[in-house]
Symmetry: C2
Subunit: 431 residues, 2 copies
């Protein structure tokens, strides 16, 4: 019978094998009381199994509150635990409750992070994965052999549908491939989502009629299930190609319901993610997380960016991009969304480390605040990526491409943030 294997990075004041046994017991049928008709065979069938324990470093202080070590030693380890898929079948929420449920409550652990999930072959048949993914998003936007270039409407909240449409007009004329709502905006007092769809799609459809290029706009439909379905239909009826969902806020079941409609590419925004991963010994690593959302069917998934403005290290971002680009079954591959403080200058390092142009590369100020205008901003990003792929350095690119050279003058002094700070935690994260 097929099994699902989860890899955890744990810390415990006890012997790791004992703590791992508690985990396996708590999260399956292990805590048996004597029950009539219960057999050893049933236990074997449904009990979780500790597959392996790899001892790592020892700490003198607990990472998070839990049982206290008498010797003042907290042992860290990589632990693999497996479950038969007979326990829950093809039910993602129950799988999540099994792999990420009460085990975070267990006092025997002073640290626990779900690092990865190995899923069995039959999941690849049961779940379709992204309906569009990288290939589908390329077809919808007619962009090949380079990243999709995208931007976010700013200010996040406050523009009227007409204001937004005017900005979209500037952007589509500038040659943008993708535009999105901010996650803080769905329907505000002065920008009803339906009205915004009307205003924005009028601009995008007119541009498509004239040029043949249909820009993808991710409308933020995050909300209640029925509302989301209504807004989804509105976007479809208006000729749109994409909807955005704040996946953590909406949740797994409702996100899958939306993905299952199969008519729009779904832009998966992971806001709230920092809460789930920022501590090196609590929560879930992106490698495990992205698998859940690919099974749910999101087509695009945020990964932060190289030299981003947030807390995340470049190593972590690269790992996340690689996780997204790793094939799952014969599913379409989810498109990594690179964003946060991007302006084109990071294209070189992003390409050097990932060797891929299968990205949605999002820049805000890097486009709208370009000294020669938004059109030059878009062109500068395309130039940066062409130069990166051609093996040029940033400096060499500035000599060939004038729009990119201007953006370097304006944005190039923005310091890469805290490159070295997280090496300590990063080494934990990569365990």
């Amino acid at each position: 019978m097929e099994r699902i294997t989860a890899t955890y990075y744990i810390e415990t004041p006890y012997a790791p094998e004992k703590a791992a046994a508690v985990l396996a017991g708590e999260q399956s049928s292990g805590t048996f009381v004597a029950v009539p008709g219960e057999t050893e065979e049933l236990k074997q069938r449904f009990a979780a199994t500790v597959e392996s324990i790899e001892l790592l470093e020892t700490a003198n202080e607990p990472a998070i509150p839990g049982a206290v070590s008498k010797e003042g030693k907290y042992h860290r380890a990589k632990v693999k635990v497996s479950w038969s898929i007979e326990n829950f079948g093809y039910n993602l929420p129950v799988m999540v409750s099994t792999l990420q449920g009460n085990l975070y409550e267990i006092t025997q652990f002073t640290g626990l992070k779900l690092m990865d999930i190995e899923l069995p072959a039959s999941f690849g048949e049961q779940y379709e994965g992204p309906v569009f993914g990288i290939d589908g998003c390329r077809q919808l936007t007619n962009v090949y052999e380079r990243p999709l270039i995208g931007t976010i409407i700013k200010p996040s909240v406050g523009l009227s549908p007409g204001d937004t449409a005017a900005m979209v007009k500037t952007l589509v004329e500038a040659g943008i491939d993708f535009v999105k709502d901010d996650e803080l905006l769905s329907s505000s007092a002065n920008s009803n989502l339906n009205d915004r769809v009307d205003a924005v799609m009028k601009v995008i459809n007119a541009h498509a009629d004239k040029t043949g290029k249909k820009v993808m706009y991710a409308f933020n439909i995050s909300g209640e299930v029925d509302e989301m379905l209504q807004q989804y239909e509105k976007i479809v009826a208006s000729g749109g190609t994409c909807a955005m969902i704040s996946i953590n806020s909406v949740g797994l079941s409702a996100t899958k319901k939306i993905c299952d409609q199969r008519q729009l590419a779904i832009h998966g925004h992971r806001n709230g993610w920092g809460m789930l991963t920022r501590h090196p010994l609590l929560g879930i690593d992106f490698r495990a997380y992205q698998k859940l959302w690919r099974l749910a069917g999101v087509d695009q998934l945020h990964v932060n960016g190289i030299q981003n403005k947030f807390w995340e290290s470049d190593d972590s971002v690269v790992n996340s991009i690689e996780a997204c680009l790793t094939k799952m079954y014969d599913h379409k591959t989810v498109m990594p969304v690179v964003s946060s403080g991007q302006w084109g200058g990071q294209a070189f390092e992003t390409y050097r480390r990932t060797r891929s142009v299968d990205l949605l590369y999002m820049a805000g100020g890097g486009i709208m605040a370009h000294p020669m205008g938004a059109g030059a901003g878009v062109i500068a990003l395309q130039q940066a990526w062409k130069a990166a792929v051609d093996g040029l350095s940033l400096e060499e690119a500035t000599k060939i491409y004038s729009e990119f050279a201007e953006s370097v003058k304006k944005f190039g002094k923005i310091k890469p943030q805290r490159h070295e700070e997280h090496k300590g935690s990063q080494s934990l994260r990569d365990t």
Copy 2:
């Protein structure tokens, strides 16, 4: 215009007012680039406002990875930030993305926990809250003036529907008020949920026909939206009164969709909660969390228990019970579900500290493993609560109540776990 105010416990290497300003900017329209038509009035309307900053202790090490302090000082503070409800209207997922979204990514914070949310009056009209709540659950089970006594079917996974029904028969004849599936079980290979509903409801309905007492069974319907709706209908058609949802795994939008069906009490299981709260300076405190799920409409919500087997301190459990029992608008009040290592002995301390019997009090082994049988186990729990409310001590109760006395002999040596260990972190949690 009404505003929503969030209280955060933060840590930062910078001046707290600067970090708070970054938060407010990131999470509203604060990061303005120059946009045509943008006015100061629009900014005022949609910008988040830092309402207050209360300086607290200073730490020498950062709680979670982030910007590094040059002086090696990390300042902690309680910060209140408010948003106009015009930013997102009545949209819980977008509210969550605003209050709990990208702000966890901000490098200027080396700790950030959402402690509480103050919601405006109109939310009380827009959201109905629990359809049943404490009053409705009492009516459905016909239990008044004492806690509902409940138990969980164990082993979690492995029993057939017939096995489960046989155990339910024992329990209903023992006088139990409430029984639930384990969160690890929805449909396993040998216990299809529909079959389990048939088998269990046959027992419960027969008992109700005979005695007039309908025991509440929480079937775990956690899954995809359409599946959950089908299973919900199955439970209704079978005469059931309750469904259980693993709220973190299913998510906010789909949980609300189920609550909106209004025919069954919804048992909100918070498994996965430890991931969201266990670190004192990351995630969300229960006081804020329970408000979100009450707005979504869950009728019962887990709070752990006094002297529980998990990591959580008694103080934290008491705070959680009090949070649930605090009135929200004119809504029905959510019923706190006390569980984890409970056997009746904790009734005294639970009542002493909460002065309430408005609980669903869950015991596993405390009922099934009672030396005189499950019936005596249920009676012992009722006796413990009567004694607690009557002001008796545990010792005094054993002299009056023989079933309870037996349970003390069997379970009374189970040591309260780690009572003192978390005082340090608790003081942070209660900030």
